[in-house]
């Protein structure tokens, strides 16, 4: 049982922290509304993710390509026609993947159930599957929907679904696994990266598990999973000391019995949401909580978000924003839409987080790895573009774009004093007050300028061009 936050600890700052971490943050009104619910009410509201699918009509990627029909049609064409068709198919598919990326970003930006999108982003990094090896929009969309469906639910159900997920099956070569020649790629990563961590299983366990994940195939016409019984190795396997005719689900169930599995997942979830490396004791406490929940991620997160440790000073405003959090969070706190598709995707690419293209099967490293002198300067300059719509010579960003609609009056209020501007902006951007030195510097800066929207924009840009703004 995680010790809960004491009632006096539920401050507006704590509410802002919860909204930042469970979701992508929000504007001052949203923070105040969340605070008014009280801690339990706030956590329930955030995790009680309802249906928002009508707000986000499925992208083009949701239409399955009949690969079998394509193949048949290809056979009737000349070599030149085949080549052209193939190129056109690839071009359209790349376009669909970009549309899928934007569709998801819009969902993160606008969904009333941001916590589910935030959790889906966690699982995308966990079950890292890349367009580089699976260049098919439909499969990537399908996996994204699977992750969303289970993001705040049963981990056991999620693992089973993912083992049958066509994108994952291609990514880790399950499709190439045969009864007499099992491919070990998925079995290895299942244990090393997805459930137990290195050193908590043997090479024999991998070999035996690989035999259980044979017979998993994809129907090219529908791009759905099917089970090819004749390719399945139904002979007994010895896995973690038990000899039985394990199938894939049996292997998964056996892995989840290992206490290490809860330890591994609880640590990873804690790092994603709290941003710190848990001590060994704390990791054990978290693992016990996850086990007790029956591997129900939503139940576990409910406890985590109510825990005193989640609101500790070394947690609050000490996590480096990932590029997606930086972009989506900025738009949410400034009450503005995402920039155009090209600009949004260009920014994320240069800041190092392309959706559906994690760097490798380990996913994004996260934390400090997001920051280098180059990406920090880019963040500062992109922030300038977001508030002014102006940029000169930023790579991948049009020199002059339609300024993002941003009502500076909403943000600063009518005819505010310099001091009020700094105070309101600081709360909006950092959910805290600036230290006196910084405040004084900014007030001085503002005193030299006319009280006009351009001044407020410069001020916002400068506040966002700070180390502090990279943290959440």
């Amino acid at each position: 049982m995680l010790a809960p936050l004491e009632p006096t600890g539920w401050t507006p700052e704590a509410a802002a922290h919860l909204l930042n971490r469970a979701g992508f943050g929000g504007n001052p009104k949203e923070i105040a509304d969340l605070h008014a619910l009280g801690l339990d009410g706030a956590v329930d509201w955030l995790l009680g993710a309802g249906d928002d699918s009508d707000l986000f009509p499925p992208p083009r990627a949701s239409e399955a390509e009949d690969l079998k029909a394509h193949q048949a049609a290809q056979r009737t064409r000349t070599e030149e026609e085949r080549r052209q068709f193939q190129q056109e198919l690839q071009r359209d598919n790349r376009q669909k993947i970009d549309e899928l990326r934007i569709w998801w970003l819009e969902r993160m930006r606008w969904s009333p159930f941001a916590a589910r999108e935030k959790a889906t982003l966690f699982w995308h990094g966990h079950w890292a599957t890349s367009v580089e090896k699976v260049p098919w929009a439909f499969m990537l969309w399908q996996q994204n929907e699977t992750l969303r469906a289970h993001a705040l639910g049963s981990f056991r159900a999620m693992v089973r679904e993912i083992s049958r997920d066509p994108a994952m099956m291609r990514y880790l070569d399950v499709v190439a696994s045969k009864r007499e020649r099992p491919n070990e790629n998925f079995a290895r990563e299942l244990m090393e990266l997805f459930t137990l961590g290195e050193g908590n299983y043997s090479e024999d366990d991998i070999r035996e598990a690989a035999r259980a994940f044979t017979g998993y195939r994809i129907d090219d016409a529908t791009q759905q999973f099917f089970f090819a019984r004749r390719q399945f190795d139904d002979r007994p396997k010895t896995f973690f000391g038990t000899t039985a005719a394990f199938d894939g689900d049996g292997i998964i169930d056996r892995i989840l019995e290992e206490p290490q599995c809860a330890r591994f997942l609880a640590r990873k979830l804690w790092i994603y949401y709290a941003g710190t490396e848990p001590s060994q004791d704390w990791n054990e406490t978290l693992a016990a909580e996850y086990r007790a929940s029956g591997y129900d991620t939503g139940v576990f997160l409910r406890a985590l978000f109510r825990a005193r440790g989640f609101y500790a000073p070394d947690v609050v405003r000490r996590q480096v924003k990932g590029p997606v959090q930086w972009l989506v969070g900025t738009c949410r706190m400034l009450e503005m839409p995402l920039p155009s598709a090209d600009v949004s995707l260009g920014m994320l690419r240069q800041l190092g987080q392309v959706l559906f293209a994690p760097p490798n099967v380990k996913g994004w490293d996260g934390g400090r790895a997001w920051i280098s002198s180059a990406t920090l300067l880019l963040r500062y300059n992109f922030a300038g573009f977001l508030v002014s719509g102006r940029a000169t010579g930023l790579p991948g960003i049009p020199g002059r774009a339609q300024p993002v609609p941003l009502s500076v009056e909403t943000l600063a209020g009518p005819t505010p004093s310099a001091d009020e501007v700094i105070e309101r902006f600081s709360w909006r951007l950092f959910q805290s007050q600036p230290d006196p030195t910084l405040r004084q510097k900014f007030v001085q800066f503002l005193s030299t300028r006319p009280p006009a929207p351009e001044t407020w924009r410069d001020c916002l840009h400068l506040l966002m061009s700070t180390p502090e703004f990279q943290l959440t």
């Binding site: 890349s130 580089e132 490396e277 000073p313 070394d314 280098s372 002198s373 920090l376 500062y380 300038g384």
Partner: protein, 430 residues
């Protein structure tokens, strides 16, 4: 006080921080000094910079360069049999030996070879070659076995192990993104396409000036130091805000330096008009201007020649040839040629047999070039057999990490075994 430490501190105060005199050393700088102190025994490592030490330029040929049409085994019948449309006739190649000649577009490199400034390493690759651009590039960049994944790059590990406390611009990449080869535990290395972009841009000069004043170390910048002491649910890792402040300072310092150097140094030398020429031209200006950079990284794309390869490959090689030739002439006129070594690499070579579209598909082993004033010219490794293939591809006889080991040990004076996580035989091309 330890004299090295003293010098270093003075250097940081005056040179790096632009002459700020009366401030307390911020917590993160203080820690850097401690780290320097611990490493003071190895003073050579600290003092060598790109201002006077050796410099490496890595040139990536992205997309998978066709090695067989770059260094052509014109005397081998198997070559002409495998490439009825793409094979380059013996009399068109720029012959170097009785059996090998360069692609006709590489006349500049041919000249460098004659002048003793070019080495060719043949048959470079790695076991269990991967034919995905993405994955194979990652393997070259991270320098690990094909079945392993590393989060750090080979140059990043060099920065980590040999360049502690060095200027953040110890690695400079010309291009939008930081190459994975630079990925390190302590972030090092900067990247930009055009120097004028590598700076903070605001609405007007006053805002930019204000930004500058915000990023000067403040007299009481020790806030956050106590976070290390906090006990609780987390393992102490040093303060993240400190880390960000240091990175912001690094960015500011490097940005100033790059802008100053590129404004000062005009380009007295004319380069051909290509993207790779502009990149190398910029590198030459940065070297001339005395950047502390030890490793530069540039990239030329477009080598994924699946269709109608002949024309596009020729254009690519012509651009490469012109850029490298001009770069070396430029360095020579600067008097820096002996301090600079340039190496090329590509994620893989291409299939021996041409495909139905007069192009070539992804392959494995390929040659690479090493050029510069200190190069020992000649051929290293062997031309792989064109008949003894593995899955239709050439078999490597030089592990790419042998090339890296040579560069690290012989050129950057760095112990390669730790960086490459293993011992690889050195070649003697430098």
């Amino acid at each position: 006080m330890n004299p090295t430490l003293h010098t270093r501190r003075k250097f940081l105060r005056t040179a790096v921080l632009g002459g700020a005199v009366s401030w307390t050393v911020p917590a993160f700088l203080e820690r850097t000094f401690f780290a320097l102190d611990a490493h003071a025994a190895d003073s050579a490592i600290q003092t060598v910079t790109g201002r006077d030490g050796t410099i490496l330029v890595v040139l990536q040929l992205a997309g998978g360069n066709d090695g067989l049409n770059t260094l052509v085994p014109f005397a081998d019948d198997a070559y002409h049999r495998a490439r009825p449309r793409l094979g380059i006739p013996a009399d068109q190649t720029l012959k170097i030996t009785d059996s090998l000649g360069l692609h006709p577009a590489l006349s500049g490199l041919r000249g460098l070879y004659d002048a003793g400034r070019l080495a060719v390493v043949q048959g470079v690759g790695y076991p269990n070659p991967n034919r995905s651009h993405f994955r194979s590039t990652e393997i070259w960049q991270t320098a690990v076995d094909a079945d392993r994944i590393s989060t750090t790059g080979w140059l990043g590990r060099y920065f980590d192990s040999c360049c502690e406390g060095a200027d953040p611009a110890v690695g400079v990449s010309i291009g939008g993104q930081t190459p994975q080869a630079f990925a390190s535990t302590e972030p090092k290395g900067i990247s930009f396409s055009r120097p004028e972009q590598f700076r903070f841009q605001a609405g007007d000069a006053a805002a930019e000036e204000f930004f500058r004043s915000m990023n000067e170390p403040s007299p009481d910048a020790t806030d956050g130091a106590s976070i290390d002491m906090l006990q609780g649910s987390a393992v102490p890792q040093g303060d993240t805000l400190d880390f960000l402040k240091r990175t912001a300072l690094d960015a500011q310092v490097s940005s100033d330096k790059v802008l100053e150097i590129t404004r000062k140094s005009k380009a007295p030398f004319s380069y051909p008009g290509s993207q790779i020429s502009s990149s190398l031209n910029l590198v030459a200006r940065l070297i001339a201007g005395g950047m502390p950079t030890r490793v530069y990284y540039v990239s030329q794309g477009g080598y994924d020649t699946h269709n109608n390869q002949a024309g596009s490959h020729e254009r690519l090689l012509r651009d490469l040839d012109g850029a490298v030739s001009a770069f070396l002439r430029d360095l020579e006129s600067q008097g820096n040629l002996d301090r600079v070594t340039l190496m090329t690499f590509s994620e893989f070579g291409r299939r021996v047999a041409e495909n139905g579209g007069a192009g070539t598909d992804h392959g494995a082993a390929a040659p690479l070039f090493v050029a510069g004033g200190a190069v020992r010219p000649g051929f290293y490794g062997k031309m792989p057999s064109l008949t003894d293939l593995r899955a239709g591809d050439l078999v490597h006889n030089v592990d790419f990490r042998s090339v890296y080991a040579t560069i690290l040990e012989n050129w950057l004076a760095a112990p390669s075994q730790g960086i490459l996580e293993g011992k690889f035989n050195k070649l003697d091309f430098v």
